[in-house]
């Protein structure tokens, strides 16, 4: 078992997340894709930690998880309140902040 496969999986997951963010309209799904990208990065961090035999990458992954958890709390609250006022969870509908 080589670390390469983990890295390839990580890249695949990241790409799926990125494409999801770009193409999906539902805010919840976009949000989930963001989480997917974060976890893809976590995977690669742990893999690199393993390759280098140091714990730094694993520690970093914990930080990312903490930040992601906080982000979920805030992000979901924002989405909820937008949905309550506009009756829609589409990211393309909330486009008032423009020229």
């Amino acid at each position: 078992m080589t670390p390469t496969y983990y890295l390839l999986l990580s890249a695949l997951l990241f790409s799926i997340g990125a494409v999801g963010v770009l193409v999906r309209r539902n805010a919840i799904v976009v949000f989930m894709c963001v989480e997917l990208m974060l976890n893809a990065v976590n995977l690669s961090l742990v893999t690199f930690a393993r390759i280098n035999g140091s714990l730094d990458g694993q520690v970093m992954a914990f930080f990312v998880m903490v930040v992601a958890a906080a982000e979920v709390v805030v992000g979901l609250a924002i989405i909820m309140s937008i949905f309550r006022t506009r009756r829609s969870a589409s990211v393309d509908d909330s486009n008032l902040l423009k020229y």
Binding site: S94, N95, K98
Partner: protein, 645 residues
Amino acid sequence: MTEPVAASGIASLAWLLLALPAFGAAVLLVGGKRTDKWGHLLGCATILGAFGYGLALFFSTVGIENPEQRVQNLHLFDWVHINALTVDFGLRLDPLSLTFVLLITGVGSLIHIYSIGYMAHEEGRRKFFAYLNLFVAAMLLLVLGNGFVTLYFGWEGVGLASYLLIGWYQYKPEAASAAKKAFLMNRVGDLGLAIAIFLMFNRLGTTQYTEVFSRVKEFSSAEILAITLLLLLGACGKSGQFPLQAWLPDAMAGPTPVSALIHAATMVTAGVYLIARSHPIYDLSADGRLVVMIIGGVTLLIGCIIGCAYDDFKKVLAYSTVSQIGYMILAVGLGPVGYALGIMHLLTHGFFKAGLFLGAGSVMHGMNDEGNIRRMGGLAKYLPITFVTWTLGYLALIGIPPFAGYFSKDAIIAAAFTGEGWRGYVFGGVALLGAGLTAFYMTRLLILVFLGQPRWKELKSDDGREYHPHESPLTMTIPMIILAVGSVGGGWFLSSGGRLSGWLEPSLGELKEEHGVLSHGMVGILTVVLAVLGAAIAFLLFGRGTQPVERPERVSFPVRAARADLYGNALNEALFARPGTWLTRALVFLDLKGVDGLVNGTAALLGGSSGRLRRLQTGFVRSYALSMLLGSIFVLGALLVVRFS
């Protein structure tokens, strides 16, 4: 050049001459209405005090045996002290300045007293006296200052006082615009004076008379010529000489005492003083002096010719002043043969012209302020004292011996004949012709105002009152009588035995005698003959029958030209005013289209491009995410390229 000695004794109090009138002006201006009751008395008292002190100073100076000691310097305080520029505020007490002090305070006192009567019905009479006091203080500073900067200070001070007094009747549009005109045209001349002072400082690092005159050899000849011409420009502005003569007749819109004091006897002669004072500079430049003579000659003819055509009492006298100052400028332009003669004519002119103006004021006072001589006539019977004093001044002006003007004007005409070659004939001829013309227009004035049939009996003045000519009160007639005495005896007194020229020697150098193309006696006879001839022609033309009240409009070309000031105003308008307007318009156009265009264009360019660029902000989160992704890929790609190449 006589070196001054430090002032001592009574001369060390000479600051009183400036302080007294300045004090009067300050009290009257600051005190306001509270001083209404006694303001005019204070005004007269300060001038009389200055005159009294001036007399004492004069006699103490005469008492100094050695003429070399008669030039005194009184240092008062260090005025300006910046780097190389040091100007000390001091007074130069020498025969020339003392002569002026006596003229200014003497004639000034008489005119102050006259003004008590003349301005009796004016509201704010004390303000008038405040301005007069201010004028006297500034004029004394002008003649007493011991350097060009002090002179300039006084020069501007008299300009201010003149402006305030010409505009005294400020509710009349013509008085207001005449004041502005006088102020502006004087600034043109002052510019010349200022640049001349800059040139002196640039070369010598000083502007005090003593140092400038003793080191005058350090100037290059071009600088000397420039300074003489620039000083002449200053003199032209202040003294109403060609081409800046047009403001002086307009200045007659002021009250008559002002015309007599400022615009006849003292301020307008400051130009003559300036040139006489700067004689060490003029001595070195024959070309500069030739220009001075040409200006003087041209002006004296212009003044005479226009004086023949005007119907306004004071304006005729004003052009006569222009013409007489032309004589003085011509005299000081002659150089060492003429400096003292110019000053002598200045003194006698101060007497008789002030007297003539006060007479005119007295006539107008009795005639509802009417100034049109066509609405007068036969007034000799109603104003006997005015008539007699005016006639004495008239005889002095046209140069009939033994009245004052004969001695001074005849001497100038004789000196004008002394130039080499064509100069003697041209300037002498011009001066002689001027004497004839002077007699003509003054006789016309005399006939139309005092002699002949009264033309005013059926008429009413502009404010609807009938004319009731009457003699003026004593405060007005006494000054006229004193001035008339001066016009009768002054010339003989000053000229006999070279009294004035000898007295002025420490200031102006020795009066040289030269023999001209015509002998002095011959010139004297010719002058008198021409004067009598001019007067006779005037009697023949105007003495018979009745003159029309309305001025004839169908007149020959010379009269029309003279009525239009020989197109002096039109010339200024065409040469300076219109090109100035064009220049302004061109600059405004350049400003609007060029400078503003550049600034507004830059702003419009930025605004327009920003308006287009902001379309990139669509508001779609996903397109922002895409651009971030593309940016990241680009950066990563660039890093990889750099890493592996």
